[in-house]
Amino acid sequence: MRVPIIRLGRILLISIQTDLTDNDALCLQSDLIKKISDTEAQGVAIDITALDVVDSYMARIINDTVCMAQLLGADVVISGVQPFVALSMVEMGSDLIRAECVFNLEQAMKRLEIRMSTRGDICLKRDNYVQ
């Protein structure tokens, strides 16, 4: 199952709707970094409400994806970490998600907009702007 990546101006939005297999997650990772680079997106919001288990492998994929996005120049905000997922992750001591986390996608978008407004980047790919 391919997870769609939606573009809203300079922000890419990903809402994971079902449990992801390892392959789905790796696929999403490569789709995302390609899309960030193609669009010079400055922000990425990832909603993981639908993930009701995040084992150490999935946590690592999320962390790696965040690092890759940051290397390219995009900020990442994660939303919707389930309470019992947070509990299991901390108890397991699995490497915690290194991105900023918020409750929902709306807050994620707000947070990204605030961050982007203070970056002062010059946009070379003008056509990507949606006013």
Partner: protein
């Protein structure tokens, strides 16, 4: 109240999701809290992933061992792969022969009430239980 065993084959990556859905459903049926359902589903996910990574295939067995005092779900995950060279080392945080973080087994151990691992060439068996006093 020991009931029938539930067996879930672990032959491929998609079986990891199947196994953790099955264990979550069974934990809910027995009466474990949502937090405990998530703990045991996460534990199954970790150990089942090792089966796929290091032994290619195995089987996950669930047993309801509850009695009038406590809720008790026992999970056994076994494979007939190469075995673990050094079980004590494998339980140590940071030990990995697979290029992982080596966090899987020690992390799983922290999520459950009882944890046991036996391994030799041709058989690795990880058994763990979630046990809670009845309210």
């Amino acid at each position: 109240m020991s009931s029938d065993l539930i067996r879930v084959p672990i032959n491929g990556i998609s079986d990891i999701i199947c196994a953790r859905l099955t264990v979550r459903r069974e934990a809910a049926r027995i009466g474990f809290s949502t937090a405990d359902q998530t703990r045991v589903a996460t534990a199954v996910s970790e150990v089942a992933r090792n089966v796929i990574n290091y032994a290619t295939e195995g089987v996950c067995t669930l047993r309801d061992d509850s009695n009038s005092d406590e809720l008790h779900l026992q999970v056994t995950i076994e494979d007939h792969g190469p075995g673990i060279d050094n079980v004590v080392e494998a339980m140590r945080d940071g030990y990995s022969t697979g290029g992982g973080l080596g966090a899987g087994l020690p992390g799983t151990c922290r999520l459950v009430s009882l944890f046991n691992i036996e391994s030799r060439q041709g058989l690795t068996r990880v058994t763990f239980s979630l046990i809670r006093k009845r309210a």
